[in-house]
């Protein structure tokens, strides 16, 4: 009996110390694992989002190498110390035309000086296709990802239909900007939301570079019209919207029709695109009304009389001949 007691005593002495040392060890490497995913559900700023919004130090045993965002400042085009940087935020998702869309978008961006491309994938993790493409372009980029939650109550594969496409991705980019740049820094920047299927002229980027708060311009092929445009009076101020679809929206403008000065984004850290409960066409307003009033808008493109951006849409390719099993080699990337 005494022997057993002794053994018990020794075990009881050693056990807490072992556990304590293990815990200490874990906490030493936990900071490295804290931000494992770049995404993290957007919970803090938006109301009603399900899911845990905290980032926590996951007590995983294996040490996972954390690859966060990459700054790749390689040349073309030549970087100027004087020009404000244009941060172009592009949400993207996997589909057959994705590589083509991103390729021709990159070919456009390669002409624009001081452009920083923030590409946000709607995916669980950053895909090799996009990573490789970004690397090979030589552009200055940041590669992020956040997956729009699926609503399993509907069909298995549909994303939550109440969240407009690209919203979580754009919000993540805004959050990244706020985490990366401090409001006091003197680095001037402009933020522009560029979807991957639109068409942009080079002149557009030069027009937006002089944005002080929020600048606006016409966009072709939106709202069922040849183009939608802000209404500009003789004094050069925006007083309304030349649209047919709900012209009484606070900001009756397409995502591609405005740009925001980075300072404004940083000074109003609570301003995000509203995730849920947004009527069709009100997405842009949900962000802009937190940032600026109609009076503050700066009209560009010759007082909103020129079209410098087109809301083109690419047809979904018909892949009938692939059949059920697939005819082409799936290893060949398209």
């Amino acid at each position: 009996m005494p022997k057993r007691r002794d053994i018990l005593a020794i075990v009881l002495i050693v056990l807490p110390w072992t556990l304590l040392i293990t815990v200490w060890h874990q906490s030493a490497i936990a900071p490295l694992l804290a931000i494992r995913k770049d995404d993290g559900p957007e919970g803090r700023q938006d109301s009603g989002t399900a899911g845990d919004s905290k980032e926590y130090c996951s007590p995983d045993k294996d040490i996972v190498e954390v690859v966060r965002t990459e700054y790749v400042y390689t040349r073309p085009p030549p970087w100027s110390d004087v020009l404000p940087t244009i941060h172009v935020i592009t949400p993207t998702y996997s589909r057959p035309v994705q590589k083509a869309e991103l390729t021709r978008l990159a070919n456009t961006f390669l002409h624009v000086p001081n452009l920083h491309w923030i590409l946000v994938e709607d995916s669980q993790r950053r895909t090799p296709l996009v990573s490789r493409l970004l690397r090979e372009t030589g552009l200055n980029y940041t590669h992020l990802n956040v997956e729009t939650p699926r609503n399993y109550k509907l069909r298995g594969d549909t994303r939550d239909p109440r969240i407009p496409r690209g919203t979580m991705q754009r919000n993540l980019a805004l959050r990244w900007l706020r985490e990366t740049f401090s409001p006091n820094s003197s680095q001037p920047g402009i933020v522009y939301f560029a979807d991957d299927d639109n068409t942009y002229s080079l002149e557009l980027f030069e027009e937006m570079r002089s944005t002080r708060k929020v600048s606006v311009w016409p966009v072709a092929f939106v709202g069922g019209l040849r183009y939608e445009s802000p209404k500009v009076n003789a004094a050069g101020k925006v007083y309304g919207w030349k649209t047919v679809f709900d012209p009484h929206r606070p900001f009756a403008i397409d995502m591609a029709g405005f740009a925001i000065n980075l300072r404004l984004i940083l000074f109003k850290p609570q301003a995000y695109f509203k995730l849920r409960g947004v009527k069709g066409g009100y997405q842009e307003s949900s962000l802009l009304r937190e940032l600026v009033t109609l009076n503050d808008l700066e009209p560009k493109a010759a007082n909103c009389t020129k079209i410098l951006v087109w809301h083109t849409r690419t047809e979904k390719p018909v892949l009938v001949n692939e059949g059920k099993k697939g005819f082409t080699d799936p290893n060949v990337e398209i």
């Binding site: 926590y56 130090c57 072709a220 849409r313 018909v318």
Partner: protein, 328 residues
């Protein structure tokens, strides 16, 4: 007795204290970790250092391939033939195509409008594009033209325009010495990576490569064995002499000039347009496979949706249509 008691108490105390300590530590495990700040700082420093390193590396880097190439006068010219026609998305398509072509050294863009005369839209676009270009025009005869409601495959498009471009090229080649050059038929709605132009540049006769998103498949293309094209991988009518898309081949200028009768045949069956030109120029054995023995997709047959402008039409009927002076 006393000694024993003391030890027992000490032991118990120690046990309780360490247990409490453990509980406290375990509670901390699941909590919000305020490590984000340190991490961001670390990340930022690392990125800054990487940036500096990159800048220093650049200072010693050799000039890029394309810089070397554009200064080389003996580099073969690529003549890109683009037929185009007026429709809502025309300016957008030509704009983004021109922005791609602008990166390619020694490239000459031949834009041929389906129109009885050159239009100001195309003329002005070309003038500011920064590209070397030739602006041609030839109207498609009315009975050959697709009507509004026709499906796109009903009549072949761009035939007269591409043939006109070849006529111009032959004329130009007759006037000046025929340099080594290559001709590529690039439609204005496809997507081209910059690599495809470098692949085609040194074509001797006819070079070929796969095209993405065409023929009802992810991609269509030649199958290469031992460096030669042996057949074509396609899901539709593989018995065609050249079951290949317009964007999937390039012809050397010398070959075009050497066969003055070679042209696209308007009366060819659907899908046989490319064959109608190629069978007069080359055999399958002579084809030069590019794009890593035809294993890489460097060009995609994208198509742009027709914009829905129902509201515009309604407004126009009411006399309140958008300003037509604003070019779209």
């Amino acid at each position: 007795m006393r000694m024993k008691l003391k030890l027992k108490t000490v032991f118990l105390l120690y046990f309780v204290v360490s247990l409490l300590g453990l509980f406290y530590a375990l509670m901390q495990l699941g909590q919000h970790c305020d490590c984000t700040d340190q991490l961001l700082l670390k990340d930022r420093t690392v990125s800054q250092l990487r940036r500096e390193l990159q800048k220093l590396q650049e200072a010693f880097r050799k000039p890029s391939e394309s810089e070397k190439l554009s200064k080389n006068p003996s580099l073969p010219t690529i003549y890109v033939v683009t037929p185009t026609y007026a429709r809502l998305v025309q300016k957008a398509e030509l704009t983004r195509l021109s922005l791609t072509l602008l990166h390619v050294p020694r490239l000459h863009w031949i834009v041929v409008e389906d129109s009885p005369q050159p239009t100001p839209l195309v003329r002005d676009l070309l003038a500011v594009s920064g590209l070397a270009y030739t602006h041609l025009h030839v109207p498609t005869p009315k009975d050959m033209k697709l009507q509004e409601k026709d499906p796109t495959w009903l009549k072949p498009r761009g035939v007269e325009q591409r043939n006109e471009a070849m006529r111009w090229l032959r004329e130009m080649a007759a006037a000046a010495a025929v340099e080594q050059a290559v001709v590529y038929f690039a439609d204005d709605d496809n997507t081209y990576s910059l690599k495809v132009f470098e692949e085609m540049r040194f074509t001797q006769r006819v070079s070929v490569w796969p095209v993405g998103l065409v023929g009802g498949m992810r991609y269509e293309g030649p199958v290469v064995e031992n460096g030669k094209v042996v057949r074509f991988h396609t899901g539709w009518r593989p018995s065609r002499p050249f079951p290949i898309d317009m964007a999937g081949f390039a012809v050397s200028l010398r070959l075009v000039v050497a066969h003055p009768g070679a042209r696209f045949d308007r009366s060819a069956q659907i899908g046989f347009l490319e064959s109608s030109l190629l069978q007069g120029l080359v055999t399958m054995k002579e084809l030069e496979p590019k794009a890593d023995m035809c294993t890489k997709i460097l060009v995609w047959h994208t198509r742009t949706e027709k914009p829905k402008i129902k509201r515009e039409e309604i407004m126009q009927k009411q006399g309140m249509g958008s300003d037509l002076n604003v070019e779209v």
